[in-house]
């Protein structure tokens, strides 16, 4: 599973992109976040306030309840500010 991080989520997590093997019991995006927060202080910092975390599963906007079965790419980022 490829995980991607953007903007300040990337800076706080201290990583832009990584390949991980998720535990079998992780079923949705919120499970991914819970698992990430056990992996170190950077992730804890990045995901401290979930109200400003957005996600995409396979390059489509999702939410914390989006299932990850079959997904190859999950991204985490703040609300977008382009345009």
């Amino acid at each position: 599973m490829k995980l991607l991080y953007f903007a300040w989520v990337k800076q706080k997590a201290g990583v832009a992109e990584e390949d991980v093997t998720l535990p079998g019991e992780v079923r949705d995006v919120s499970g991914v976040i819970s698992w990430l927060k056990t992996r170190g202080e950077g992730y804890e910092l990045a995901f401290a306030d979930l109200s400003v975390i957005r996600c995409a599963v396979n390059q489509e906007h999702g939410d914390f309840s989006t299932p990850i079965a079959g997904a190859s790419e999950i991204a985490f980022f703040p609300p977008v500010t382009g345009g």
């Binding site: 991607l4 995409a56 390059q59 489509e60 703040p78 500010t81 382009g82």
Partner: protein, 148 residues
């Protein structure tokens, strides 16, 4: 049509490419967004980060949605990425239709959706001190008004 690029664009050239040789277009609306200096006048530059792959898909989705909602003869979205200076172009949206209402509404719709759904993030540089720009609540409200 969708383009994500570091280079600048010229509005006149882009409109000409869309309309040249056609006589079925009565109205063309363009929106261009520029890097505006911050209120303290301290902005040195701005870095546009994006999510390659998803950006193009999301812009294409938004453009397809506009073409479903309005009878458009042509549409174009260009978004720049990388380092930009105050006054530089950031984004261009062009819509062409037989009548002006469709052109105005679809251009406004494209910008509202782009602002809340296209994966770009602005990082302001005020001479060494950098800051990720916060999303504006009013952008969410502007996009919400198009939901039926």
């Amino acid at each position: 049509m969708i383009r994500v690029q570091t280079e600048d664009f010229d509005i006149g050239t882009e409109v000409k490419k869309l309309t040249e040789g056609r006589t079925d277009i009565g109205a063309v609306v363009t929106f261009s967004g520029l890097v505006r200096n911050t209120d303290d006048g301290a902005l040195a530059s701005m870095e546009l980060e994006h999510y390659p792959g998803m950006t193009e898909k999301e812009l294409a989705r938004i453009e397809a949605e506009a073409n479903e909602r309005w009878p458009l003869q042509a549409s174009l979205v260009i978004h720049r990425v990388g380092k930009l200076a105050p006054g530089d172009n950031i984004v261009l949206v062009v819509t062409a239709s037989a009548h002006r209402q469709a052109a105005f509404e679809s251009a406004s719709f494209l910008m509202d959706y782009l602002k809340t759904r296209a994966p770009f993030w602005k990082n302001e540089d005020k001479g060494g001190e950098t800051n990720w720009v916060d999303a504006r609540e009013s952008d969410g409200e502007a996009a919400a008004k198009w939901e039926v």
